[in-house]
Subunit: 372 residues, 4 copies
Amino acid sequence: MEIEIGRSKRARRVYAFDDIAVVPSRRTRDPEDVSVSWSIDAYQFAIPFLAAPMDSVVSPATAIRMGELGGLGVLDLEGVWTRYEDPEPLLAEIQGLSEERATERMREIYASPIIPELVTARLAEIRAGGVTVAAALSPQRTQELYETVVAAGVDLFVIRGTTVSAEHVSKNHEPLNLKKFIYELDVPVIVGGAATYTAALHLMRTGAAGVLVGFGGGAASTTRTTLGIHAPMATAVADVAGARRDYMDESGGRYVHVIADGGLSTSGDIVKAIAVGADAVMLGTALARAAEAPGGGYHWGSEAHHSELPRGKRVHVGSVAPLEQILNGPSPVADGTANLVGALKRSMATTGYSDLKEFQRIEVVVAPYRTH
Amino acid sequence: MEIEIGRSKRARRVYAFDDIAVVPSRRTRDPEDVSVSWSIDAYQFAIPFLAAPMDSVVSPATAIRMGELGGLGVLDLEGVWTRYEDPEPLLAEIQGLSEERATERMREIYASPIIPELVTARLAEIRAGGVTVAAALSPQRTQELYETVVAAGVDLFVIRGTTVSAEHVSKNHEPLNLKKFIYELDVPVIVGGAATYTAALHLMRTGAAGVLVGFGGGAASTTRTTLGIHAPMATAVADVAGARRDYMDESGGRYVHVIADGGLSTSGDIVKAIAVGADAVMLGTALARAAEAPGGGYHWGSEAHHSELPRGKRVHVGSVAPLEQILNGPSPVADGTANLVGALKRSMATTGYSDLKEFQRIEVVVAPYRTH
Amino acid sequence: MEIEIGRSKRARRVYAFDDIAVVPSRRTRDPEDVSVSWSIDAYQFAIPFLAAPMDSVVSPATAIRMGELGGLGVLDLEGVWTRYEDPEPLLAEIQGLSEERATERMREIYASPIIPELVTARLAEIRAGGVTVAAALSPQRTQELYETVVAAGVDLFVIRGTTVSAEHVSKNHEPLNLKKFIYELDVPVIVGGAATYTAALHLMRTGAAGVLVGFGGGAASTTRTTLGIHAPMATAVADVAGARRDYMDESGGRYVHVIADGGLSTSGDIVKAIAVGADAVMLGTALARAAEAPGGGYHWGSEAHHSELPRGKRVHVGSVAPLEQILNGPSPVADGTANLVGALKRSMATTGYSDLKEFQRIEVVVAPYRTH
Amino acid sequence: MEIEIGRSKRARRVYAFDDIAVVPSRRTRDPEDVSVSWSIDAYQFAIPFLAAPMDSVVSPATAIRMGELGGLGVLDLEGVWTRYEDPEPLLAEIQGLSEERATERMREIYASPIIPELVTARLAEIRAGGVTVAAALSPQRTQELYETVVAAGVDLFVIRGTTVSAEHVSKNHEPLNLKKFIYELDVPVIVGGAATYTAALHLMRTGAAGVLVGFGGGAASTTRTTLGIHAPMATAVADVAGARRDYMDESGGRYVHVIADGGLSTSGDIVKAIAVGADAVMLGTALARAAEAPGGGYHWGSEAHHSELPRGKRVHVGSVAPLEQILNGPSPVADGTANLVGALKRSMATTGYSDLKEFQRIEVVVAPYRTH
């Protein structure tokens, strides 16, 4: 249904997770009977959660812990862990910065060069933890660093930017040819963000194993005010899930995973992401609240220290509980910030579903007015 | 009218009581000429109000008082009254708990076992009060305790859970077969919550005398944030009223009562519930504000002390007036929290209706922006 | 366009003044060239404003002042001026009451009987001021007091209640037969509130000269929370204006005036009321802000001291400027609370209109999100 | 899609910038490859920004600075610079006024007569700065002062009022005949505000080079509350862009520039204005935040000191950074108030566009609920 903004412009109505909810069916189940397992390529996970490649969320240690708890931690290879031998004091410093100083000091900290040897060392540390190894680069840095990454050994390669297209145009440099790159790489690639059907379809055609859905992923984003761009997540995920279906058809059956990345602050948001078509979710804020999160109660993304145009802030999210309790409960609170897995299972059970793939078919309603 | 959330997902727009209002017709009446009487099975009530089976609302004493005032008090048989010989000190303790301690301490209090002898004693106490006796169990506990309940003597049997389906699936235990259970029971059964047409229709087919409409009933619920589930009440009641009509048709005339349960904080909400099709309403918050309410100005449901995933909080609702005044006025306040019966009668009179069944046909408007 | 609330209920979307705005046309005018004069029956007014019959707005003195300034003050014959020889100390006392005491004390004050001699005296006082005399009774009191009122001499007779229908049904007493009453009365009658097309059409058929549009008129009303009833004013006025057109057709040309009554707090609201079809507006809050208003910066209606079910509050509205400045400026403020006439004229001029009747045809838009 | 407000009134749904957002396409670009250049008549600009003719934004000095930085500063010829030899102390005084005194004192300051010699001197000063010279008059003053302006030398002549129509009707004076005036003038004219398709089309037919889109332009406006008039900018710009297209057709190819004027507080708003059809934007608040802005952290328009009906306020907007940094960054903040050019370029690059004309075709969505 197209809307007329004015005589020369039409638009489409789009929806955020806050605008929607899931509704019960005529059947109910026991939460114990529900499976939330997820697999991509050859890798199996007990829970469909990826920890976002952000310094406030994933360190080598928390990547290992995340893997032990059934999920996947993705290390940011352009963060402090590959720029500094000992980043812990810098993480502590960031947490202690005043509001006024934060952006400027973070710019300095992240201006330090990436050291290839540290890339190798950090990945080795995670592998030694006995878990699936995943790491992320931006499209801009991929060509420069991917050989180091592959040589160091990585199970899943993540290319993540504010927005990543299969068709980047540049006058000054040869952009990364995603299709060629993914074809030649021996490792499955997850790539994004993409927020529209067409952008995602083109990313799927590059051979990616998964697509990250979102724009400016990270709770601290002020993208709409700064850039005027906004891709509400319920519509974005449902659109990209439509691309998955159409691409499966055109490719003769290749299933590309749809991973919601952004706007997932509570267990309710996670439930909704899957309800509109996500196979898995990449969590930032939700895991930055873990007691062992390297952000120490703060959360920030790379857009918070952009040199020219910062589009986010370092935000205080607090420490709610240890990661295990954030994931599996029991929850000390009633606000959807802990026992994320238990809440997902209970929501699926209460509405009568027993696995994630089925749950993508649940009935959804538009009910934008929040209950106070 | 279906809405497209995104390419692979459609949704329906649903409505809360806050989104709607009733409008006058061309006729007016005197409030004195209006009847709000209600009857279910063989039981007659001067007012269509059930007090919700929650420890902050119904004790044996307030169940009797509610009956004396023309309504029906429903005792929760899984609350403090069947776990403790003398629950008064525990109720007082809950009221005095700090915010931080509340969830944890309530978990302990409600972990104490249910004592069948207390079930018998409490029901006997209510019956001795000379009023209709009603008591509630969760579906999980019904099989274990119903014989005790029936033996103790109960007029109306309530099975109440967050969501209750006629088709619960479990791998580990034989779930309660509602249809068989209700058929064999000699006592009329009210069952719910159900929030959708289909779920309610199936509950009606079990032989229930009434269906509770709602999901997560209780003002303290944070279900949407935690589980992503939300069933706004105006749509839920109107859908279940549609099931009542269709079931009456398919059953050759059996009328199953639709009882709105949840989201009914003010007299205005009660008016709207009946306007969209409810025969009666189950009140929690609204009665927790009575001076003699056992919650002493606080209100909580069982979801507030769930062992793994609390989905609500103990909330302070204050004490507005004695129960008689909450129901029949005069109201000391102008905010819809007292003289609930007077407000319902005045609303019906002002809009030209003289009984509840007629009032279900009143014209309703969508006007979501509150007057400030 | 009907909306489905749920399977058994449909509803219509309705609009408040806050939801709409007027837009410029291709023409502009000088404010000096605009006329806002209004006439009803034999009475001419320079401005289309009636001061609402409320003790916080109209005393005999302010009724005279309102007349001198070109409008019409309507005295409430059931307020303090007809109950007390010297009401000034009581008005002062009401202004000084604490929030807690206000409802109770006002109930006492308004429980004092109405003294017919005072009705006569107050109307004589206004007439002596040389202005058009208008006074209001509720439908309940009309039969008892109208002869006193007519004998005292009144130019315009106002019958005003929360909602007034042409078809009041009562088992206990013979209700006022509006049609007969108005037919026999020698004085033109303005009657309301009515908030729907049908209710207003029936009132028009009684022979009324004007219909008050609104439900629960008065800024202090909490009708929606208490009674669940809400008749947003933009839709109500446009519906009743539709009844005016249809009644003019069926009656062979009788023009019944549509007077918006309620929800008119700012000059912007007044503009919108006329834009959707009002011939004149009855102002409460807007005039209670005058320095000489008898409420002394406070505003209350009879619903604030209802004996059983108060549905409003005494609210503090402040004193903005003398009545003359509230009406004609210059305005000391930029929030639409002063220079109401100037704002109306400027709005009409800016959008290209030169009289009120033309301005009822201006283009209106729905733009519910307020500018902050 | 017309909406029924009530039986006798229909309305159209309109949209503000806050209601909409732009979405990525399948292509991305480098911000360095994007051009935001703009030209009108014979004048070229590196950036499509006009500084609004308001005393808090443009002085002769900041007009020159704006030109040096690639934009266009428009001097208000009815502000302090043409009323006072040395206006700096008055600007300082305005900044220091208390809230209560502000309106009254500003009325006095702006009551001082305009001195034609100062008009000449100020324009000479700007021309001496080596930049394009632009100055604004209200329609009321144009006839009186235009010869002075033209004689002093101006490159672009701006006629700006709250709303300017091609068809002003007056009983008392001969209004400015825009068509004749523009035809005879040798200088290109930019005229507005106009907020609707028809009003803009008529302005285009007068021969104007550009049309200012808006109503009551200026962030401090309280037009909706005061006048009931509101023309949300997304719809207004898209409507006027439709008029540009239709006028180009009827005129055989004359392209009239559409300049959004009002509601442009952040870089995100600028992005959206162009996305719905603007060729350039006139900035008030956004530039009042520059360190060298003459308002010194305060912002006000002429409506704030209207003698009869003030419709805005002097507002504190703060000083964010020097003008160069407000325009070109680097931004010290993440809220869309600095690096406006960088943000516009990045938004265009991220969504795959390389010039402004192309970007007017970008896909837009309706997503009214702001991200918190």
